[in-house]
Each structure stands twice: as C-alpha cells, then as structure tokens.
Assembly symmetry: C3
Homo-oligomer: 273 residues x 3
C-alpha cells in the first residue's frame, strides 16, 4: 500500500521549507535527504514567504520558538496556504508553557494545516486546552495503550475533524486520522525515545511525504509514520555491543536512506479503524 | 562511591532546562538522555521562567550568547534560584571577549549557581578578571599539571569558597571542589579535545547529576566529571581503524548510555585532597 | 603539492571565527577540529569584532541568516579585513530569496573576501544577478560538466578577477581559480549531496587552510577542496551494508581527521588550466 507513496517521494524530490528548532535541525535535514526529498531552513521574516513559495511543503516546529521566529512561522504559513502548499505543524512542548500552548493555538487559528503531528500530551493540549506534558515528552498517564485504544482512536478522529486536517499522534502505538479513518500503527521501538528529535525528524519527513502525494495526505502521513517506526526497528537490528543512543540515531537515518518502497510495504504494521 | 549517585539519575529521570549554544546543543540533549535524564531547550524570555519551573535543574551555557538570550539566562536563573533548583553555569569562552567575560560575571552576581564548570582559562577569567583563553579552548600556559597540582587545588578551592558553589575545572587533570574538599580526577583522554562540545555535554550531564542528588552537589559533580572522562576512555577502546573524531563523539555518548553505576565505580580514577 | 599546505594547518592550528548557520554548525566545528584547526562560533554584534580579532580567519555562511546576524557578518568582516585576516564567504542559497542574494552582494561590496565558495547556481547569482538555485542546491541546468568545462573555467576565472579573490565552485567537477589559474578538481562522490552541509564544512575547512597558508590562498583553497572530496572517497570505501547518509557524514569527518599530507597528495585529482 505504501510502496507507491514512498516511491513518489524519491521520484519527485520535493523541496521542504523548515522553520524548526536548533536542537534537532541537522537530523531533520539529513532525514529529509535520506527519504529522497530536499530540505531548506530559513526563518527570517523578510525571506520566509519567498522561500516557502519555491518549496512544495512547509514544516513548522516550535521546539525552540522565539518572538522573532513565531512571526516568521505565521508569515510562512499564511503564504504557503495561499499557494495551496502542504503544511505540517509539530507543536513541540505545547502544554509546557503558555508561550508554546498559545503559539500552537495561534498557528492553528491562522493557518489551515495539512497535518498536525505530536505526542499525545501535545495533541491533548491543543484539543482540550491542557495536557500533562512533561517538558517535551508525553506524560505516561496520557499514553495510548491497547486498553484505551478505542477511546483514543475516537479522540484523534475528533481532533482531526475539528481541525479539518490529518492528526498524527505518535508514541508506543501511533494513531493517524483524517477524522474518518484512523491508522493504528505498531511500528517503532521504545528505545527511540532515548534519542532527541525522532519526532521532529518524523514531522520533516511527513512534510516530504505529503508534498509528494498531494492527493492522499492521510495515506502519505501514515506511510511516513510507518517508515520512521520501521527505521527504528531495522536500525535496532544493526546495533552491536557497546552501541548506544548516538549510534542508534545515525542508524535510524541510515535505515531511511536505504529503505525502499518494498521494504516499507513489507515492514509496515498497521490496521485501519 | 558514585554508584548510588549515578543510579539516582536513572531512577529519578530529572528534567533539565538548557539555555545553551546552537553548536553542541544536539549532543547535549543526547547525552542528557543517555545518562537517564530528560532535556528541554527553551530560550525565549517569555517562557524561560515557566519552563524552568517544571524542571529540577537549569544549565546555562554562554557558548553562542546574544543580547536576547542573555536576558533569558538572567530571568531563568533568578526563577530557578527562587525555587531552590540546581543551576549550572558553563562560561564558554569567558576571557575571549568582554561580552563573555562580563556576562559570566553578571550571571554570577545575580544568580547563586550550584556548579560552575569550565576549562582553567575560563575559571581564571572569572576568578581573576582575566585569563589567557584561546578562543573557547584553555591556554596551555594555564593547564593544571602534576607539577602545579597543589597550587591549582588551592586555587580551585578558593574560587569555590568565593562563589559559594562547586567549581569544576576540566582538562587533562580535572579538579572539582566545594571549597573544602577537592576531587582530583584523572579520567579522560586528550583526544576528547578534538571533539566540539565534550565540555558542554559534561555541563548538561552535571545538571542532571546534581538534580538527582540534591543533598550532595560535590559528589554528584565529581561523579559526572568521572563519568564523562570514563566514557572517553571506554569509547576510545571501541575505536577501529579509520575512525576519527566524529565516530569518537558518537561512541562517547554511547558509552554514557551503556554505563552503569558499577562501571562508573570501577572506572572512576580520583583522589580527594 | 598539497602536503606542505595541509601540514601547515596541523602545525599552526589556526583559530577560525565562524558566523554560520545552525543547521550544519556542529559538523563545521568538528571538521575544523579534524583538519587540525580550532573553531569558535560567535554571532552577537557586541562581540564579533573582538572575537574575530583573536582569530586568523573568518568564515561567513548565510545559511540561516537573519537581520541580527547580517549586521554581525558585516561588522566582523570589516574588522577582519582591517586586520588583514583571511575571510571566506559561503553564499548559501543566494538566488533562492532576495534577502540571500542581496546580503551576499552587500557582503561582497563591503568586504574584500579571500575566497568565495559556493555551488554553481550561487556563484552565477553573485556574478550575473540571477541563478536557477533550487533552494540550497544547485540547479542541474547550471552544472559544470566535461562538455562545458572550458566555458565554465573561463566563467569562474572571470568571477575571480571581478571579485579580486579566489572563487571555488564545487559540484561534480570543482573549479578553484584566482582569476589567472584554475584548478579543475575531480575528487568527491555524488553521494556527498545526500548529506546536509558538506559544502558548509568545506567552507570552514577552507578558512583554516588559507589561514595556515597566508601566502598562497589559491593553492590552499584547492587543497581544501581536494581534501574534502578525497575524504568523501575514502569514507565511501568504509561504508558497510546498511550504512547510509548519517554514517557517511561521520566517516567523512573521520577521514579528514585521519588524513595526512601524504594521503592528500596521493589522492588529490586535479589539473591546472
């Protein structure tokens, strides 16, 4: 199912404009290259509209937002929307500060996102006005589990409907919904949480996938989520004695780089609810 | 001695707020995760007080300071202090410019740090008003050696007393003192100096260690210094033909990731003076 | 021919001031260390003149420029020039936005650069006022090939003459000219384009090479270009099954770290036109 979706990324090499945090930005750029797309990072208000115009997708990540870049996010987002570009929001740490919560809300009010991708606490914050975010990580009490799966699926569908976009909640179980259907994805490994920025990388890659598959944002988003999780699984198999989270980080990006549409189709573990 | 100290980090998973430079920030985040803690980076003045409030330690690093972030450092530091949080200062490049020297001094005047960690030239700059810093590296003429050890120990004790905090001077020989006792640490390898940011990583890790061991900042700081040096030794043993400083960087973080309290206890090389 | 050039870098350990983008800054720092020099990153307008004064070269890279750092670039550049320091410009993305194009031009008008290094689209933008940049990558239609080599050499010589500096155009074939002679370099691998920042790394390394060889900027620049390309070749030979662009990135920096003047002399593939 995802083979063609992934092949389209490598075939069309979409240019992705990223306004993202300085913590994980290098990995975001390398994973976008690894999946076959091309990244450009630009955050000055006097150029973001022009830069986003030459791209086919925009990835907004508030991981190290500041007053200057928030303005740039709004300008770039409105411009990208006016051009019909695909736009991803990664509301890093929404719930951890009023600035993050309010900025996420302001962005959502002003920009029609194609995909909002975050951990469950961040998405709860956006939907309910509050969450129990532990810094930039999800709170365990919020986690999507087999026990609360039906309820969680219903929740994510509702958030997607309300925001008229695809919502991707990632964690031990990932949920990706457009409000009607919901992919329940069981790829990935817990050890990915020991690396900074696998979520940021996924958001960047999602922007590439949806840009290359403009007619099916839901499938493209689910494919990106499966690809990231599968990369975590394949990378883990390569881990040798003495390897730790830094090597794991490299091996995950390597796994995306070596992944084919066929590998993705074989390794993707999902059901649709 | 350090087993329990390290185990406490993995058990309590402290959240560490970092206002740090954009050069080494990714490695700082990954090493904080590797040792069992959780990092959050936030530097906007409108959110740093709130972010630091949900954390248990603050790590201030002036490696790429600017007018905007200096204000944020002061705000976050004062807030963290008012909450009784642990606070680390890494005065990167103090002595290399008036801005760095003066900012380090201003931070120290306004905030009661728990630990100040730097190379010998940076610490001399703070203590004596001047040092012979070579950019962000220590000047060779300042180095702590076996020959000047007694004098150096006395100096570090004095700086610690004057600043009412733990002072950690790292180099070929590391000195960590609270003004009364001084750990003389002989872990580490010279090749670590060929990697950007091992000092920054150590400061981030120190914040995690002291947050998890609130009653013994001296021991916790010394444990972090030993852990970083030991990681450098263990990582070096893994180096294969053709490996260089980039692989070494990854292997050091990997070594922290795989380190246990027992490994640390066995490998720590220190005496107390 | 390049042995002495490279040996001079390791012998003199020049301190290089970098005002560069936050995407690839860590790799730039590590590659500068790998080649034997020392990096310092500083971009606040109140310290850049002082910082650049203690360095022997300045590397200006506009990859994530903003209003604040553009001012710093101009201040640092003018100061470095007044001190007779070597200065490199990497006009990342010139042609992709008016801000980038105009900033590159403003920097060139106000600062006498020693070397301008970019991809062919960026250099065409600088020379002709426009290029067909695809984001931060060169447009294929601009590429230097065996077919248009004579014309391309003539073009690069002309740009070098006009700007009174060395111009280095890197791509499948690299051209490095001072306006009279032109090195045509055939080191490197296409896969290097799948890593973010090999160009940024080269600019940082070029600054180190020309600082250590003040009397022959042309040869030093050509040596840096050959070293980077050769590192790409040597690193590729180390690639194992499952390795991808992230591991390749590490191995390239490792290859610079392990490179000797002799290795460089043996592996450099160039002719002079």
């Amino acid at each position: 199912m995802f083979k063609k979706t992934f092949d389209n990324v490598r075939k069309s090499c979409p240019l992705v404009h990223n306004i993202t945090n300085y913590v994980t930005v290098n990995d975001v750029a390398n994973v976008i290259l690894a999946c076959g797309a091309s990244p450009i990072m630009a955050d000055d208000r006097t150029e973001v509209e022009e830069i986003t115009s030459i791209c086919s997708a925009l990835n907004i990540n508030i991981g190290t937002l500041n007053e200057r870049t928030i303005e740039s996010m709004l300008l770039a987002g409105k411009k990208a929307q006016s051009l019909g570009h695909k736009i991803v929001l990664d509301p890093v740490g929404a719930g951890a500060s009023a600035l993050r919560t309010n900025t996420a809300k302001e962005l959502i009010q002003n920009i029609q996102f194609s995909v909002i991708r975050g951990n469950i606490s961040e998405i709860k914050t956006i939907a309910l006005g509050n969450g129990t975010t532990k810094g930039v990580d999800a709170d365990i009490s919020d986690a999507v589990t087999e026990d609360n799966l039906e309820k969680s699926v219903a929740f994510v569908k509702e958030v997607a409907q309300k925001n008229k976009c695809v919502v991707a909640v990632t964690g031990a179980i990932d949920l990706v919904s457009d409000g009607t259907k919901c992919f329940v994805i069981r790829n990935g490994r817990a050890e990915m949480g020991k690396i900074t920025g696998t979520g940021c990388q996924l958001s960047g890659m999602t922007a590439a996938f949806i840009a290359a598959n403009p007619d099916d944002t839901l499938t493209a988003s689910a494919a990106a989520v499966c690809a990231m999780g599968l990369a975590g699984e394949l990378a883990w198999k390569k881990m040798a004695d003495g390897d730790g989270n830094s090597t794991y980080r490299n091996r995950i990006i390597d796994a995306i780089c070596n992944m084919t549409g066929d590998t993705l189709d074989e390794g993707a573990k999902y059901e649709i609810k």
